[in-house]
């Protein structure tokens, strides 16, 4: 019987292995594209690597990674509790938009009050976006994936609308909001950035992201709340039978998930953007979060690593055209990685179905 445990261990180890293999395959396929286009694989990947291994490069990678880590945590948290949060995009936009409004209108407040206030408002806005979808699901039985996709667009147009309000809109000609007050900025001191040679938008948002990651890990692993949410995610019937309030749990999960994405929006705005542009299409931070959560096995620490990896690809990718390589190569690599991760799950299921009817049978009635 002992081998059952080792089989489970192997499977979980394999999951990590599958992700590493998928990442490697992503680069292999990327290389194939380069070869087909007649470009040098060594030059392209060399540039990718060299651009992220300097101190400045690392600071860029971290700054790029912050929003991905946050939306990744948001999606991963929801995954753990059985909800597919495809609405992180909208929650992210709500967060950055509301932090932006507060950062402009209440710019006279001292830093020590304004920054936490921006965070809180952004989390509340993201949570609200999650809760509304949750209410539609629990009260009206509306599929959360559909309503989330619609809410992404509502957030998108709402953000564009608010950016156009005179009190918020830029005084200049730019199709964007004013810049947020300096007191709302999370940027590192300018002389520090200069002396260390960091990227101009270097900010301490990563610390907030790491704290958020630790909190998510703590909630999921250590608290009764996490127990409740996981129980609902794994088997809502048993959870209900055991006296857990299923609908309440779904709402809580979506609120926390939304707050994480909303906070991600605030961190992105306060550290990097400092204003919101009027967009013609969705920025995709929320969707990137799905990829990051997938690559991080929905594990908070995994999400941190995956977020940094994604940040590195995004930043490194932006340097590719120096080698005459289209930056879309990154999309090819990321797409391939996701594809192989998805395949590996299927592959595992096939293996599971074929090799382990023993296990399935034992789990069911009889062997």
């Amino acid at each position: 019987m002992d081998n059952k445990k080792t089989v489970m261990q192997i499977i979980s180890e394999n999951r990590f292995m599958h992700i590493l293999i998928s990442v490697a395959l992503g680069f292999v396929v990327g290389a194939l594209f380069l070869v087909v286009m007649g470009l040098s694989v060594g030059d392209a990947y060399g540039r990718l690597l060299s651009s992220v291994t300097t101190l400045k490069g690392v600071s860029y990678v971290i700054v790029y990674a912050i929003p991905y880590i946050m939306t990744g945590l948001s999606v991963a948290f929801a995954f753990k509790t059985g909800v597919f949060n495809i609405g992180a995009e909208g929650q992210f936009v709500m967060g950055s938009m509301s932090a932006c409004v507060v950062g402009i209108l209440l710019g006279d407040l001292p830093k020590i009050i304004l920054i936490p206030l921006c965070f809180l408002v952004a989390m509340a806005a993201g949570a609200l976006w999650g809760i509304v979808v949750g209410l539609l699901k629990t009260k009206r039985g509306i599929n959360e994936v559909l309503s989330m996709i619609m809410f992404n667009w509502i957030a998108f147009y709402l953000s564009n609308y608010i950016a156009g309000i005179p009190a918020i809109h830029s005084d200049g000609t730019a199709e964007a909001t004013k810049n947020i007050a300096d007191n709302a900025s999370t940027l590192l001191p300018a002389d520090m950035i200069k002396s260390l040679g960091l990227c101009p938008t270097a900010n301490w948002g990563i610390l907030v992201a790491i704290v958020a990651m630790l909190i998510v890990w703590f909630i999921i692993d250590k608290t009764t709340l996490g127990y409740k949410l996981k129980a609902v995610g794994a088997n809502k019937f048993a959870a209900e039978y055991g006296g857990i309030n299923v609908n309440g749990s779904i709402l809580t999960a979506l609120a926390i998930s939304g707050a994480l994405a909303g906070l991600g929006g605030a961190l992105q705005l306060m550290g990097m953007g400092s204003r919101i542009s009027v967009f013609s299409s969705q920025e995709g931070f929320g969707f990137a979060g799905i990829v990051v959560a997938l690559m991080g096995c929905s594990n908070p620490f995994g999400v941190l690593a995956a977020g940094l990896f994604y940040g590195a690809l995004t930043y490194g990718g932006s340097k590719l055209n120096l080698e005459g390589v289209p930056t879309q190569l990154i999309s090819v690599i990321v797409g391939t990685v996701v594809f192989f991760i998805a395949i590996s799950v299927i592959f595992e299921r096939l293996k599971y179905a074929k090799k382990a009817p023993k296990k399935v049978k034992e789990g069911k009635e009889n062997k």
Partner: protein, 513 residues
């Protein structure tokens, strides 16, 4: 079995000295099986004895570590189910593998569809299906969708699927586990018909009664080892049970006479509708007192499921009262009833009873995770949780030992049930509701579950038992209430009951009283 019999025919299936290891674990240890043409051969063993493993090797799902498989006297290498199918072996799994939105015909021909050019030839397919169903006397509606037909019908479709692929040897894995008593009778008739036609059937089961009723020979496996092959007519159910578990099994439960105490559960004029909005509980009254077991007997679909769901708070009723210790829990959430004193062993242990992906230790605190000592200030306390699991595992004989951190889904059915019983019994509530508590369990586990239910009664708990197993109802209940069309229509003392009278009452007939 007699020697002449073996010599006269080449067996259709011969498994010689089959050993199968998974890592260090020996699932099958030198097992022999011989099946002849036209024979119904039962494989009997407890949960986890290695029956399914043995059959999965015969069906090519995995390869034996050592040993030979012979089909019609010829040694065959089975690498996958396709090889088994080509050798004329068909298998009907316990959990059916049917495409729910497809019709019966589509399911039967799936993978071997007749074609006209590149197009599917559904007319021919339908004709073939009707032909084969008539030939073997397996009546089905070829145009019905799987999702609309009963479990018994779905099983026929599975059998037809195997026959359509030319199976001469059918393996049925726990074929009766989800069938109603009537459907079981029909299935046995079908099996007889098939063997008359020269088919051979292997059934994996732990139901002794059905072996006695249907099988010719029975091979017993215990803990992965071959015990014996017996001629079913020459042994009693008790013999089979003893061989299966390796000790004497008592079917009788010791139940001292005792006077019931005050009323714990008082259901008054309860009404409730099912998902189709049809009233299925129609003004039902029921009382359960301390120290008694009330058994609800009835044919499935007469409102017993909904009754229990309303009492436990999983379903909203339309009218009535459900008093637990004097407090009305009608249409209150499950937690409210739990706090008033309701605990239950649910009918579907995998859906309602357990979170299969959760560790056993976590399943054991499903209702108590937010209470001291398992959590403090909403932080889970891993040590007390683990210790509680260790105590429960040894106290309730949950096997394997040391499995506190293992997902509940890796346990056998009987041990999963033990986890639920450990949890509910330790909750120490005044009312225990048990719905089909021994469904799918083997004799040893059934004995165990019955012992605990009676113990609860003896300790002065009120017990409501709902079961489709009449034997269980009759042996455990102090009073049997018969449910028919959403009402209690009869009530008889458990010790006076007999199967015939009960059967008549359950079908809506009246008893003499």
């Amino acid at each position: 079995m007699s020697k002449e019999y073996v010599d006269m025919n080449t067996p259709v299936i011969e498994m010689r000295n089959i050993t199968k290891k998974f890592g260090n674990f020996v699932a099958n240890d030198g097992i022999n099986l011989t099946v002849h043409k036209g024979e119904i051969h039962a494989i009997l063993g407890e949960n986890g004895a290695g029956k399914s493993t043995l059959m999965n090797q015969l069906y090519g799902m995995f390869k034996p570590t050592s040993g030979d498989i012979l089909v019609n006297g010829k040694k065959i290498e089975m690498n996958n189910p396709r090889d088994a199918i080509n050798a004329g072996i068909g298998m009907v799994h316990q959990h059916f593998m049917l495409v729910q939105p497809f019709t019966v015909t589509e399911n039967i021909v799936l993978g071997t569809e007749p074609k006209k050019g590149v197009a599917l030839d559904m007319a021919t397919a339908r004709k073939n299906v009707v032909e084969i169903s008539e030939r073997y006397g397996l009546a089905i509606d070829p145009d019905a969708k799987i999702e609309d037909i009963s479990v018994g019908m779905q099983q026929r479709v599975e059998i037809l699927k195997a026959l359509y692929r030319g199976a001469d040897i059918l393996i049925l894995d726990e074929p009766t586990s989800s069938l109603t008593p009537q459907e079981i009778v029909e299935l046995i008739a079908i099996m007889r018909n098939l063997t008359k036609d020269g088919k051979s059937i292997i059934i994996i089961t732990h139901k002794l009664k059905e072996i006695k009723e249907s099988a010719d020979f029975c091979t017993i496996i215990r803990l992965g080892k071959y015990i014996d092959t017996v001629d079913v007519d020459k042994v009693t159910e008790n013999d089979l049970a003893s061989m299966m578990v390796g000790r004497n099994v008592t079917f009788k439960v010791d139940k001292p006479e005792q006077e019931p105490g005050e009323v714990v559960l008082d259901v008054q004029d309860l009404h409730c509708v099912d998902y189709r909005d049809v009233e299925v509980v129609c003004g039902l009254d029921l009382q359960v007192r301390r120290g008694e077991i009330i058994g609800i007997a009835g044919i499935d679909g007469n409102g017993q499921t909904e009754l229990v769901e309303v009492i436990t708070g999983l379903r909203k009723g339309t009218a009535g009262k459900v008093l637990v210790n004097g407090v009305d829990v009608f249409n209150k959430p499950p937690r409210f009833g739990f706090d008033q004193g309701v605990s239950s062993i649910p009918a579907d242990r995998q859906k309602h009873g357990l979170v299969l992906d959760f560790a056993i230790e976590d399943n054991l605190i499903l209702q108590n995770f937010d209470e001291d000592p398992y959590s403090k200030q909403h932080i889970l306390q891993r040590k007390p949780i683990f210790e509680h699991a260790t105590e429960s595992i040894s106290g309730f004989d949950i096997r394997p030992g040391g499995s506190e951190k293992r997902p509940a889904g890796t346990l056998s059915g009987g041990n999963q049930q033990k986890v639920i019983i450990a949890r509910e019994v330790q909750n120490d509530k005044d009312l225990l509701i048990a719905v089909n508590p021994t469904r799918g369990l083997d004799v040893g586990a059934i004995e165990y579950v019955h012992k605990y239910i009676v113990e609860q009664r003896n300790k002065g708990k009120a017990v409501l038992l709902v079961s489709f197993e009449l034997d269980e109802i009759m042996s455990l209940s102090d009073t049997i209430k018969v449910i028919f069309d959403g009402k209690i229509v009869d009530s008889i003392p458990g010790k006076d009951a007999n199967e015939n009278d009960l059967g008549l009452m359950m079908a809506g007939g009246k008893s003499n009283g």
